[in-house]
Amino acid sequence: MNARRAGILVLLAALALASAASAASAAAITWTVDPAHSQLTFHPRLAGGEFAGRFERFEATIRFDPADLAHSSLLVVVDLLGARTGDTDRDTALQGSDFFQTTRWPKGTFTSTGIKSLGGGRYAATGKLTLRDVTRDVRVQFRFDSPAPSGGAARMTGSSNVRRLEFGVGQGDWRSTEWLDDAVRIEFDLALRGVR
């Protein structure tokens, strides 16, 4: 093998590696969530007035690239034991059998099944939400703002309207919607960092 042929082989090998690398980057960017600057909140209506509660612990696996929505996905796992509303009685009730029943179902999960663009940096994700032992389709709308589209820092903010009774969140008296509305708005504001 002469020096020229060896040089061509090296060049081919380099090209092969480069194309493999670019194929890998076709899978959307992976983002990590900075929990200190992110929040996941829920907004029930109680006796005609709205209040906000928060999920203090959740993990999100986010693969998202505005240019490659087909390979983008959202997976959020919420530790329901971290639900806080500012009142210990109400927090205790949320953990109980009438609501999340965390002794049996401590986690809530959302897995996206598809993401489409709504234009202007806005997106809609459809997916499966599981609470207690019930899984239902829900729709999430969000904005994605990133100064550098290929990574760096980004912000994902959005909301979803969940019907709590579809999931059995509200047993006994709380099946009634007279004092506690069925619709509960979920909001999130996530500080993201691209890791590829």
């Binding site: 006796a47 005609g48 007035g49 209040f51 906000a52 500012g86 009142d87 009685d89 008296d173 004092w179």
Partner: protein, 182 residues
């Protein structure tokens, strides 16, 4: 009966506001006590919601009453010795202060525990203070102490009115009675 106050008697609006506030405050104690007895749940929520809505209505009526009083200088003049007038003015001032402070302390107490405050669900008032567990506990005590203070001043107010009516027979009570003429 004129709407405005005259030198002889309170007008119909002042009388209406005075008695409406009385009628709204009386059930407040019983609603709060009944709710206290109940376990957490829908029934308790309903009673507390009534208590809160009535309280906010008292606050609005108290503001209207004080506003109307300020706009309506021609109210019945004071009666009695100078010291009696001073005591009466101080007592009335304290009552006005309490019918404002009591609902405001309750409102803040709800806000501190992140509970919404509405007027029978028709209208939501903004949170008065941020969520704060310790503040909620303190305000709960303030709300209770203010109630007993209000009760004490109201009892003196009623006894004074009865004293004027039955002992002095000077027509002071009749000036505020509904449907009565001086």
């Amino acid at each position: 009966m004129p709407l405005r106050n005259t030198a002889e008697a309170y007008g119909s609006l002042s009388k209406f506001l005075h008695w409406a506030i009385v009628l709204l405050i009386v059930p407040q104690y019983f609603l709060a006590e009944a709710a206290e007895e109940l376990p957490d749940g829908l029934e308790k929520l309903q009673l507390i919601d009534w208590h809160k809505s009535l309280g906010m209505l008292v606050l609005l009526l108290a503001l209207a009453r004080i506003g109307w009083k300020v706009m309506n200088r021609g109210m019945p003049g004071p009666i009695g010795e100078p010291w009696q007038r001073k005591v009466a003015a101080a007592g009335h001032g304290l009552l006005y202060l309490l019918i404002l402070a009591q609902p405001i302390s309750g409102w803040a107490m709800s806000s501190a525990a992140n509970y919404p405050v509405t007027l029978f669900g028709w209208f939501q008032f903004p949170a008065l203070v941020a969520e704060n567990h310790d503040l909620h506990e303190s305000l709960e005590e303030v709300h209770e102490v203010l109630f007993f203070l209000m009760l004490a001043v109201a009892v003196v107010h009623i006894l004074a009115a009865l004293y004027h009516h039955f002992v002095l027979k000077d027509g002071v009570l009749r000036r505020m009675l509904p449907f009565s003429r001086p």
